[in-house]
Symmetry: C2
Subunit: 337 residues, 2 copies
DNA sequence: CTGTTAGCGCCTTCAC
DNA sequence: GTGAAGGCGCTAACAG
């Protein structure tokens, strides 16, 4: 731990300037309330003592607010920074916060047991929590502080704002595209719980999935399959650990091992879809409409994580943010023709 | 501003549990120093009052440290989040901080005049400043707080750690590759100062550039040109505003307007190099060895911004970080053959 | 194992 | 235009 620095306080400056501490405080906070001569005296004293201005922690204590928004990015910070969508989300948050003069504190999660404590110990006025599972203890920790909490993607909680698109409806729409006319459809999915195991299971039940976003997407794919008369119990779902192309390709090979006839894949990201395409699947759909989707001409679901980040920040800081449930768009491209 | 929430304090909990505030404090900070029965009494009282644990600001004030690292990302947060290298840098910082239980506070800069004040008012133990100009007032603000400052890329300052590769030597090496055998070489550069104007100037003098990183790279390109017997005063330098492909392509067209014979371009990023290539330049070099470089088969300078971020965080938090001056590698690919 | 005392550095309130 | 008192919520140091 950083050891305390030797500090120069307002009292020191006051003494050096021959005024009271209050005058120093005013000099920094209400400069116009102090006469020009006094102000100059104070600033001179401050400069010669190396006083850098009011101590931020003391100020926060006094004000009862920190002007900082806490951002909880989930167990593995690495996954977040490697995910272009998460980065856009962060950009949206940072933009709103910068406008309003709020700092963004990335809460140091990632070590497991200590995570809830670290959330609780963060000096912030509100939290934004990046999409997670229903049972994430970190979420509980954020709520226990009684500060405002905004959750991106889910889970939903009474008393917390949830921001995100209607994943189920969007998945049904893109599923209808990719599964149309397919003989043997399959799904490339994100993890089902925080253990992030990889596996293949036909007819995977969405209700068993701990991540609301993943659950809703899978349910939407199933809706689409059922509407097309496809027997969901025979649709293999390959669950990947991360949003990584290499891993997705080997998962795709596992799917082919199980059923060499697979001819359509609904994937939960553009990266996964591109990997399936590279393994030889003709009909694929992605998610997010990223650069990859454009390069691979993928049918996909467009959404702006940046807008959603901005909305989360706005809501967390007490503004009213627009509903994003319908803020998605089906983008039809060659990959489903 | 977030208005103060109604608070439950240790004193409240102490009263409810029939103990002194110190016992409550111990219960949270040295649980083993408190008897199990007392601990339970205290936690029960806390739960029933909705007490969420010690107030972080009060704790910071008392400890004299915040366990938070301040990150200053420059005038335009947008540029930082749109730059994959900056994101990797952030990832490296976040990783080290998470390991050590430090939060990463993105200081809300970007509005101009207020930026220095916001840096000063940030409740952090140390700063990491993303590459900037010699005269950036935000840097001065960080130093004025007397907290440790680590600067990435530059400028160098007495009393501050600087982490980054030797850009000049690296630029000379890659310049030697791309300019070899070129009849009319040119350069695609990053901005020369924080105004970020775009322009073309032949023989642009590196000494006039306010960003040390850009200055060193240009100087290295010039070194390479001179060694090859090229007259630097006739080498056009196109200065781009951001690291954006669209802008780079139009800058490349401006360079062609000035000199249609341009047959080699040294670019300060892979994105800019790819844009030059797409505009028809046969011989190009990039910088960073990103995905783009691999896709476009670009000769480039490989470096790990992630490692550099980690090193900055380590140094800022009081560890000793390895020197990164030689942590780069020339990657030769088809774009200079 | 628990309690008392004494501030950390600041700013609201109220006086002058 | 300036100052004195008091307390924000917490914990180090020292009893007992």
């Amino acid at each position: 731990m950083q050891s305390p620095r030797p500090r120069v306080t307002m009292t020191d400056v006051a003494r050096a300037a021959g005024v009271s501490p209050m005058t120093v405080s005013y000099t920094y906070n209400r400069p116009r309330r102090v006469s020009p001569e006094t102000r100059e005296k104070v600033l001179d004293a401050a400069a010669s003592l190396g006083y850098a201005g009011p101590d931020p922690s003391a100020r926060s204590l006094r004000y009862g607010a920190t002007r900082t928004l806490g951002l909880v990015l989930g167990e593995h910070l690495t996954y977040a920074f490697d995910d272009p969508q998460a980065v856009q989300f962060l950009a949206g948050i940072a933009e709103v916060c910068a406008e309003r003069g709020y700092g963004v504190l990335i809460v140091p999660t990632g070590t497991g047991d200590e995570d809830p404590d670290r959330v609780i110990a963060a000096a912030v006025d509100a939290y934004v929590v990046w999409t997670t599972t229903d049972d994430d203890p970190v979420l509980a920790a954020a709520f226990s502080t009684r500060r405002p909490v905004v959750v991106h993607g889910g889970p939903e909680r009474a008393g917390a704002t949830m921001i995100g698109i209607d994943n189920r409806t969007a998945a049904r729409a893109v599923g209808a595209e990719v599964f149309a006319g397919a003989g043997r459809p399959a799904v490339l999915s994100f993890p089902v719980d925080r253990d992030r195991e990889t596996f293949v299971r036909s007819g995977l039940d969405p209700a068993t999935i701990a991540y609301p976003v993943t659950r809703d997407r899978l349910a939407g794919y199933r809706d689409a399959a059922i509407e097309l008369g496809i027997d969901w119990s025979r649709v293999p779902v390959g669950v990947c650990r991360t949003n990584d192309a290499g891993e997705a390709r080997s998962m795709m090979r596992r799917l082919f091992d199980a059923d060499p006839g697979i001819d359509a894949v609904a994937a939960m990201s553009d990266q996964l879809a591109a990997a399936a395409q590279e393994e030889g699947v003709r009909r694929v759909s992605g998610w997010d409409d990223s650069d990859v989707a454009r390069r691979h001409d993928l049918t996909t679901v467009a959404q702006s994580l940046r807008d959603q980040g901005a909305a989360c920040a706005t809501a967390a800081l007490g503004g009213s943010a627009p509903d994003h449930r319908e803020a998605w768009r089906l983008v039809r491209r060659a990959s489903t023709r």
